[in-house]
Structures are given as structure tokens and as C-alpha cells.
Amino acid sequence: MIRVTWGKGKSMPESSQSTSGQSELAASPTADVALSVRRLSTSFLSEGRMVNAVNNVSFDVFKGEALGIVGESGCGKSVTARSIMRLLPDHVTRYGSESRVEFNGGNLLDYTERQMRDIRGDQIAMIFQEPMTALNPVFTIGSQLNEALVYHTTLNRIQRKARVLELIDLVEISNPDRRYGEYPHQLSGGMRQRIVIAMALACEPDILIADEPTTALDVTIQSQILRLMNDLRRKSGTAILLITHDLGVIAQMCDRVLVMYAGQIVEISPVDELFHDAAHPYTKALLESIPHSGMRHDGQRLTTIPGLVPGLHDMPIACRFADRCTLRQSMCDAFPPSLKASGHRRQVRCHFPVHSAARPLEKG
């Protein structure tokens, strides 16, 4: 729980004590909010038209928590993350007029590039999917780790080198001295991803956004990396926003989950409750489609969700999942559902959430 400060004047946060590996967070309004996304809509100018990739997304990231965003490819999770970091090309990206990303007292969507540069890597860091290509092949590991420190701290060369070695050690890589002078191609994929994590945590950011960090790794390595990230989170109090399409990763890592579909959030829920009692039909269908042991003996077939995600150009006006939903009613095609609180610390975007009392008639 010790958080070392290196000449930046950062204060110690309320460290969240962990008991079972998942921290209990009070969801009361007074809990510390690290980042607040309000009504975020991101659209791109493509071939003369505006294409909407993220639609009216709102959520909070609490300090020190692990929040997962799960959804299939193309549902807008990456775009959401990059919108927060403002890593999308400015001249073709448009945000909603009411969209806000509140962080440390300011709206990130209004910040200039210079202001964003100060924040990136220092207060909010991001790591990406492909460890093999995330590092610059012609610079040493040491110099790339050094870079983040150069941009955001006032440490001198000796102090920086010490910190870099400390970071390499932090991510459980042996022989930091040797690694310092090595090049990325001399490391394995898992090791590179550890370095990437080290780079991201170099300046002790408040939030670490991880965009599918383990998708490109072997399953065994995947588990190690996730455990590492969790350990580091607890040690430093950095919140993690974990983006993935793999529910197993969510189960292992996260406290709360956002489920996204077709550019919208369809469910927000603490992890346990999501897995035991999913509210949104989409989430439910996702969970049901996971193969489980014993299926073979029962002669069961794999369950899938029929249909396809609607294309960006022909989004339905009302519920976007209606087409593929087993609980579809005529209301679903007429009125778009909004994200509503549903039970304790949960929100669902559905007219007929699965666990609520308002069950619809079983569709014949």
C-alpha cells in the first residue's frame, strides 16, 4: 500500500484495502470519483457523412477500482477509451455537444492538445493490445521507459535511471540492468507487455486504461499479466479501466462491469451480480453462450445469439438489440430504452430487464 511520490507533490489516496482480491467499494455518492464520463458521443467524418460510433455513454470510474468494459468487436469500447484520452484524429472526430469527460476539475474534451499531453502518461495512462508492436523497435527498453519520465517529471538522469530499474523490477522482470540496454525484439511477448505496463505506471497515473491487454497473449501468460496488474493496482491505488471482449478476464480482474452494445452501454453492474443474475438480455445471452463442462454429456449444442450487430449506417432508432432479442416486444421497436437504475448499484438499458418484476409475456 505504500505509494512512493517522486517529486510531484501527489498526495496519498484513500487506499482501498483488499481482502479477497476484489475491493469493496461504497457506491454511495460520496465515494471518490476519479473520472466521470457524461453523455459521451463520438462521431467520425467518413466519406462526407458523420458516423456515430459511441452514443450517449455515461459512467464513473472510482478511485482505485477495476472497471471492466465488455462487448463484442465494434461496439465502441475502444473508441470510448480513446475519446477519453483524446487520441482520435482531431480533424475527423466530433463529440456530442453535451458530452463531457470530467477529470480533476476539468472537461477533457475541451482541453487543448498541450493540456492533454500533460495528462497523458502522467495522470491517465493507456496500454494497448499488441505487445509485439507497441514498442519502438529501434530504441532500447531503458530509453523508452525513460521517455515518460522525461516528459512528466523533473528528475535528473541518475534518478530516472534508478526509477526505470525499479519499474522493470516492479513488473517482475529479472535482471533489470541487462534489460535496460536491450531492444524490444529481444524480449518475449509477455515480457514486452510487462514493459508496456511499466511504462504506463512510470508516473503513477490515477487511471490506467487497458485496451485488450491480454488478447494477443497466451492464456497462461494472460493470467500472469492480469494478476500483475491487479497487484500493482492495489499497491499504487491506480484505477484500471479494462477493455475486453473476454468475460473470463472480467471475472478475474474487475469489480464492476459495463456492458456495451452497438455504441451504447446496456448494463452496469458489480461483477458478482452480473454473472449470477444478468439483467440485460444481451448480457444474459452472452453468458449463456459460454460453453461449460458437462455440455457434451448432455448432448447440448452451443448457444449463439442469432443475427448480426447492426451496421453503423443503419442503426435502429429504438432498442438496438431488439432484432436479436428473445424478449422483444412491440414497445422495443417504438421507444428507445434509456439507462435506468435497476436494483442495488445497477443500471440497465432495457424495457424489460430480465430480473425485474416487470416480466413480459413469454413470446410465443
Binding site: 508492436t133 507497441a134 529501434v138 511504462m199
Partner: protein, 332 residues
Amino acid sequence: MWTYFLRRLLYNVPVFIGILLLVMVALRVRDPVYAYLGKNASADTIEAKREEFGLTRPFILATPMESQFGSFVVQVFTLDFSDDSWDHPGETVGDILGRCIGPSLALSIPALVLTTVISVIISVVAASFRGRLIDQSLVIAAVIGMSVSFLVYIIFGQYWGAYLLPEITGYKPFAINGYTHPSETTWWEYITYHWPHHCLLPVLISVIVAMGYDTRFYRAVMVEESGRDYITTARAKGASQIQVMFGHMLKNAMIPIITRVVITIPFLIMGSFLLETYFTIPGMGRQLILAVEHADFPVVQAFTAVLAAIYILANLLTDVLYALVDPRVRLS
């Protein structure tokens, strides 16, 4: 790393010998002596001349000193340029080579350096504003520039530099004829007056011609590099656009850039033919054309071999530079 160099060197040697073979065969398709002496010479004179220049020897199948090919290869590798020129009696090929290299270098090296530097800067600008107006106009300008013949640039360059400019300003800063060797004047005068007077205009023309091609290519390289993941990582760390472009991107882009610079060298050689001819600069290119016109066989043969050797050396240089720039090559 040294094994790498050795390998490259050994690889290039058979290539060079292949070139020599090609050149020699090409030049013997038409009997060189016949071409030189013309149709009016008698058969005896021709035969005598051929004997004199060793052209009656077997081409390959003999000991090195006795075959034409063998002895030429030996000559080249021992840098023996003592054959007499047919067209310039009293001068050996070596003499001619010696006096022609200087002017050629005076044109090619500044042109190479200027072109590369300017194109890289322009392409970095174009790539970082990709898709916007400045990028589009640069690309259009490059494409149009590429579609006009070199000759037109030369003609208009001369017209502008040697006729219009004097008319408007009264000065005659650029000459379109002649050249002064550095040995004929002091170094200072050479750099501040003689070189710009004779060489600056052709060099500028050479740069303008090459810029279209180079800019488009470098821009493509830059744009491709800028789409790479490590660039996104760097930006996520808080790097500014400039730090990303010149720190991260440029070093990775050096590899294709270096290749490209090497490819530009033969283009420069070609350009120098035309520029030297048009500007009457006594360089290698012009000399070669004159030799071809006058069927001066030894000169043509030797010069071609030298030019090819330059190209091969440039290739080797590229390999060296690769190793310096790309650690992946260095450590393999």
C-alpha cells in the same frame, strides 16, 4: 556484425563481375574497331588495330591474362587505367577519369544532400498533416512535377537563369557554359563564386526534378510509420507531435529512406549526363556520351565499369548504414 559485412561484400563481388561481363558483351556486339574507324578503313587496318588492342584474343576461355574478359577484370580490380583513349591520343583512360571525376562530384554530391534534406522535411510536413489541404496540394504538385520531362526543366531553368534573370536584374549570376576546376583557383573563390556560378543552377534543377518522386515516396513511408502502434504508445505517454515525428518516426523511417537515397544515386548519374551536356560541364557523364558518339571504346568500357562500381559501393554503404540504424540487423 562483421560477418554480416563480409557476407554482403562477398555477395556483391559476383554481381560486379556479372556487370563487367554484361558490359563487355554489349560493347562487342558491334565490332568496336569497325565502329571507330568507319566504313572506309581497309580490312587490313581494321585487323591490325584489333590486334593492337587485344581484341583478337579469346573472350573468356583462356588464362586470365590472355582472355579479354579475364584481363579486363584484372585491370578493374587492380585499378589499372592505363589504356590509351582512342579519341584523345596521348591521354590514358586514367587521365581522363581523373579530370572528369571532380566536376561530376561537384554536381552530384550537393544535389544528393539537398534533395534528401528538402524532401524529408517536406514529406514529414505532408505526413503529419495528412489529408488536409497542405498535404493534398503537396501531393498534387509532386505528381505534376513528376510528369514533366527533365529536359523541359533544364531548358526553362537555363532560360530563366541565364536570360530572364540577367534581363530583369542586370546581373548574370549563372553561367550555362563551362566550369572552373578548384585547382585553377583558390578554395575560397571556388566555393563563393565559381561553384555557384557554374553549378548552382544545374544542382537546383536536379533537386526540383527529384523532389516529386522523393517527396511522394518519403511521405508514404512516414504515413505508414505514423500508423504503427508504437506511435500510439508514444502519444499515450504524452509525447508531442514533433517529438513523435522526429524522435520516434524518423529513426524507423531511416531504413526505407536510406534505400531510397541509394536508388537516387543512379538517377543522379543520369541527371548529370544531361546537366553536364547542357551546361557544358566536363564531368563523367558528358565524357561518356562523347565517347559513345566517337566510338572511343576503351573509355566507354572503363567508364561504365567505374559507374557500376560506384553503384555497388553505394549498395554496400547502404548495408553499413542499415546496421547502424536498425538494431535488429545489427544483432542478428
